[in-house]
């Protein structure tokens, strides 16, 4: 198994990148357009609630990954089965992220390039990075997330001349039920997918600090996403609602002195690095999880086949981007709820009922 350790600060940044991951490119809850940046915070609150349920579980079993907890709580057979379900969830999350970025690249810059040419190099470095362990992932993420946050801050300056605050009105013109629905769907995606970190938390060198790190990471991600959405609404106005990639496309409107124009390539690549981190974490969770399910001594050889699976899934996950958007709007919430809320809650419930763990692990 991976012996690398990451610090709580690195965990915070990983959670930020992971959450920003794909939502930043393909946002959900577009029907709440002007208010999405506000509802984001409601979603964040709900998401934090979910996260803390899982964290509660983790703090009962410090130093154990989700899969090890499963085996403790459900016994080897049922535990393994539930772990396999989670593997499917990770595979789908990672593959979906890849698919989003593949579509983004193919519908903007590389219209003629075949899927494979885009995906294969990416998969290769994903596998390469995954084999190097969580330490390397966390460290490279530190630089990548910095550049993304920097980009967001800079873009605030860049859009000053085209930002129209009027576009943010009206506040809360939605029926209340829809606000709730949107915030729940936001809590599941992007925030709920953080359940994947249950595979990574044991790698944090000070598990007592995990709670704070998760809180900071998710709030940070919420702020970044909300800012981007805020800018997109202010710049694009209502026309953003008909765009496939509104959060990215508002960069197309930037025009500084007729010279700095068409800058969208920079956020495109920057967001791609966020997707890269998200996918690499999925790949890592897949490899480590499988290794734990089969009681292997190392996860490293599994990175390659799972990289391949991600490639296949990314190819065959959606017939088209509109199907993908439909999935995100209609299905994702239920699907995600099962994994980010129901299953951990069930595990926690059964653990509590069975009085596990029997002896306290650490003070």
């Amino acid at each position: 198994m991976d012996q690398g350790k990451i610090s709580a600060g690195q965990l915070t940044l990983l959670i930020m990148s992971f959450t920003i991951g794909s939502w930043v490119v393909l946002p959900t809850g577009i029907q709440a357009w002007q208010n999405l940046w506000l509802i984001m915070f409601m979603g964040l609150g709900t998401g934090l609630l979910f996260a803390y349920l899982s964290l509660f579980l983790f703090r009962r079993f410090p130093g154990k990954t989700l899969f090890e907890i499963h085996e403790r709580v459900y016994g080897p057979v049922l535990g393994k089965f539930i772990s396999l379900c989670f593997l499917w969830f990770f595979l789908q999350t990672g593959g979906g992220t890849l698919a989003i970025f593949k579509t983004l690249l193919r519908s903007t810059v590389f219209t003629a390039t075949p899927d494979l040419a885009i995906l294969v190099p990416l998969i290769l470095i994903l596998v390469y990075g995954c084999r190097r362990g969580i330490e390397v992932i966390a460290r490279s993420n530190q630089l990548l997330i910095m550049s993304t946050v920097g980009l967001v801050l800079v873009s605030i300056l860049l859009v000053v001349n085209i930002f129209n605050p009027e576009n943010l009105l009206p506040f809360f013109n939605l029926p209340f039920s829809e606000v709730i629905w949107t915030s729940i769907s936001l809590a599941v995606f992007p925030f709920g997918q953080n359940v994947l970190f249950m595979m990574i938390l044991p790698r944090v060198n000070r598990w007592q600090k995990v709670n704070g790190a998760v809180l900071k990471g998710m709030i940070g991600a919420g702020l970044v996403l909300s800012t981007i959405q805020f800018l997109a609404v202010g710049v694009l106005g209502k026309s953003g609602q008909i765009l496939v990639f509104p959060t990215y496309e508002f960069y197309r409107m930037i025009n500084i002195a007729q010279f700095l124009t068409r800058l969208e390539l920079i956020p495109l690549l920057n967001f791609l690095t966020m997707g890269f981190i998200k996918t690499i974490l999925c790949l890592y969770a897949l490899a480590v999880g499988t290794a734990q399910v089969f009681n292997l001594r190392t996860y490293r050889p599994l990175a390659l086949p799972f990289g391949l699976f991600l490639l296949l899934v990314a190819e065959r996950i959606f017939p088209s981007i509109s199907e993908h958007m439909r999935y995100l709007e209609e299905v994702q919430t239920f699907f995600g709820l099962i994994f980010s809320l129901l299953l951990p809650m069930m595990t926690l419930g059964i653990a509590l009922l069975r009085g596990l763990p029997r002896r306290r692990m650490a003070p």
């Binding site: 789908q92 593959g95 979906g96 029926p175 039920s177 829809e178 629905w181 499988t290 290794a291 089969f294 009681n295 292997l296 001594r297 190392t298 050889p301 599994l302 390659l304 086949p305 799972f306 391949l308 699976f309 296949l312 899934v313 190819e315 065959r316 996950i317 959606f318 017939p319 199907e323 993908h324 439909r326 999935y327 209609e330 299905v331 919430t333 239920f334 699907f335």
Partner: protein, 74 residues
């Protein structure tokens, strides 16, 4: 094309396997091989022009009814 795919997989296998054999990681080798074989099968199906079902379309079908019932305003 099929040959190419098989070749690539063989290459991947040869890349990884000797290290595992050297360390006598037999279980790891077994899982690795099985996973790679699954990958190979799907890749061959894809290359061979077999229409694999789209993953999410399945879930959409499953959840569409639930979604209809629960989504307000649609």
């Amino acid at each position: 094309m099929i040959l190419l795919v098989v070749g690539v997989f063989l290459l991947l296998f040869l890349w990884e396997a000797p290290g595992l054999v050297a360390k006598e990681y037999w279980r790891e080798l077994a899982v690795f091989t099985i996973l790679l074989l699954i990958g190979l099968v799907f890749s061959l199906l894809l290359v061979g022009g077999v229409e694999l079902p789209y993953i999410e379309s399945f879930w959409i079908k499953v959840f569409a009814k639930v979604g209809k019932a629960l989504t307000p305003g649609s």
